[in-house]
């Protein structure tokens, strides 16, 4: 992909983000932060590339540490979001 297509994806995604986030109910703002935390750890993709590649031992180790850190976030972030969301209940009638 060339720079312009990537930039287009980015700009359009910013607009999508703007509208999607405004539609989030304020009661769920804490889970919103927890889940955005988890998904921003998609940076693990870069960490995996570094950890998988041969060539530079130091880059590999940096990659492995990054994989571990991002994994804390991914598993922890989704799990704590799920835990919070499970607590939101309606009135029993």
């Amino acid at each position: 992909m060339d720079f312009i297509s990537i930039l287009s994806i980015f700009v359009l995604a910013c607009f999508v983000g703007y509208y999607v986030v405004w539609s989030v109910t304020p009661a769920l703002h804490t889970p919103l932060m927890a889940v955005t935390n988890a998904i921003s750890s998609v940076i693990i993709v870069g960490a995996l590339i570094a950890a998988a590649a041969a060539g530079s031992a130091s880059a590999k180790w940096l990659g492995l540490i990054a994989v571990a850190l991002a994994s804390v976030n991914i598993f922890g972030g989704f799990a704590v979001t799920a835990r919070m969301l499970a607590m939101y209940k309606k009135k029993d009638r």
Partner: protein, 470 residues
């Protein structure tokens, strides 16, 4: 050798699907009933992104990667399971710091082994545009890391919540920022390692310098802002890797944090710049407290409060950070249940900045099994205080201060507040009359004829009220 340009179409589509899953994950949060499905879609999106990456790259050693995921995943799961809901702001800050650190490490790895990331030209030098993306990604990641560590220490109580003001801090901060940007620009001409590492070091320093002058009360804005930064860091790395999943996610998270910061600033009637500049609430504390001693107020007991609420038709509960500190949410719900049994209508009113992060109070009430359809936001419930018999303020202070509406000299003038004083009676739980709210201003509400102060620890007081009701 140039992997990125040779990426097969299915891979691009897989990353796109993963990005769409993340959009739907956030979309699900528009209502509690769809939110759990959304969260599962988020997990699926992440699995697709990780699976695709592993599938298309030649892996030198899969065991090490699986090990790293297992260690990180286990730590994450255990933490998520054990963490107390009142400690959620600290946890989120800690998680942000990890995203920031991961971004720095990925950037450093890309710098050390650019060929693996497909960002080199024929001569083996890193492409200039990739250098800018990499520099920005590492800088934002480092700011996110050190800023989040400070936010964590302040929220967790390891560091005083009071603003720490260095002399000339604005000059130092601006100078450092300019230096970082200048070095990144120079990096396009010269890819010497010292430039890369200096940018990283300066960015770590500025993250630290930016957050230490900001007081505990402004932490909701800081946590949202760092949330936003972690997104931009991911997006910058996505540019480097030409990865649409990372770019879409980065844009989503970046806008999410930015919008939350905006909502928090609006709810405090402060500009984003003034929050970032820091120092709010640093001076006035003792002055407000001294004034409080001289003025007459009415003091009530748990029995008085129980009696008033039993006689009421409608009670609105206003929780704040003090409720979280005292862990009073469970006993508060017991009190509400007893009142409902007596036929009293009970609602909860939440100010957007109540607590230490956006939505903090809602989570705590949900934890205590308060149904979410009894919990209302400021603009939806404010008109109802006039018809309420009792407004029950527990652990909130500044967000109920009528001076925000009338007193132009007040530091919180113009901040939207809950109109609790319009209720027939205000019951206000506070530890003692000394000590003002975190804005350092005295609350007009304490001295009004229709206010009864309940001076005690929030949890103990509510427990006594429950006893008196039972």
């Amino acid at each position: 050798m140039h992997e990125v340009s040779a990426t097969p179409a299915w891979v691009l589509i897989a990353y796109l699907i993963s990005g769409v899953c993340f959009i739907l994950a956030l979309r699900g949060l528009s209502s509690p009933s769809t939110s759990q499905r959304g969260n599962r879609l988020g997990m699926i999106g992440m699995a697709i992104a990780v699976g695709t990456t592993l599938a298309i790259h030649e892996i030198a050693s899969i065991a090490e990667i699986v090990g790293a995921i297992a260690i990180g995943g286990a730590i994450g799961l255990v933490t998520a399971k054990r963490i107390q809901m009142t400690a959620m702001p600290q946890l989120v800050a800690a998680f942000h710091s990890l995203v920031g650190m991961a971004a720095v490490l990925v950037g450093a790895a890309a710098f050390l082994n650019p060929a693996a990331f497909g960002i080199v030209d024929a001569a083996g030098a890193i492409l200039p545009v990739s250098r800018v993306e990499m520099g920005l990604g590492v800088a934002i990641g480092a700011i996110t890391f050190s800023g989040s560590v400070i936010a964590f220490l302040k929220l967790n109580g390891n560091m005083s919540g009071a603003p720490i003001l260095l002399p000339l801090r604005h000059v130092i901060n601006l100078g450092t920022l300019v230096a970082i940007l200048g070095l990144i620009a120079y990096f396009t001409q010269d890819q010497s390692p010292w430039i890369f590492w200096t940018v990283t070091a300066l960015a770590f320093a500025i993250g630290f310098l930016l957050i230490i002058p900001i007081g505990g009360a402004d932490m909701p804005v800081v946590v949202s802002m760092l949330n936003s930064y972690s997104g931009w860091a991911a997006a910058a790395m996505g540019f480097t890797l030409h990865n649409s999943a990372m770019i879409i996610t980065g844009a989503l998270v970046g806008s999410s944090g930015a919008i939350l910061s905006y909502i928090m600033c609006r709810a405090m009637n402060r500009s984003f710049i003034s929050v970032i500049a820091g120092g709010f609430g640093a001076v006035e504390g003792p002055a407000g407290g001294a004034a409080a001693i001289d003025r007459p107020y009415k003091r009530g007991s748990a029995e008085d409060a129980a009696f008033l609420m039993q006689q009421a038709d409608k009670v609105i509960i206003v929780p704040g950070y003090g409720m979280a500190v005292a862990q009073a949410q469970h006993v508060l719900r017991e009190m509400a249940d007893l009142l409902k049994k007596e036929g009293v209508e009970v609602k909860y009113a939440i100010h957007p900045v109540a607590g230490r992060m956006p939505g903090h109070m809602n989570v705590l009430l949900a934890e205590a099994n308060v149904p979410y359809d009894e919990v209302f936001e400021l603009e939806d419930i404010n008109s109802e205080f006039a018809q309420a018999d009792v407004a029950f303020v527990i652990g909130a202070n500044d967000v109920t201060n009528p001076a925000a509406k009338t007193d132009k000299s007040s530091p919180i003038y113009g901040m939207p507040v809950l109109d609790v004083e319009k209720a027939r009676t205000v019951l206000f739980i506070k530890r003692s009359m000394g000590g003002a709210g975190y804005a350092g201003v005295d609350n007009e509400l304490f001295y009004r004829d229709n206010t009864m102060m309940l001076l005690a620890d929030a949890k103990k007081m509510v427990e006594e009220i429950v006893k008196a009701l039972g």
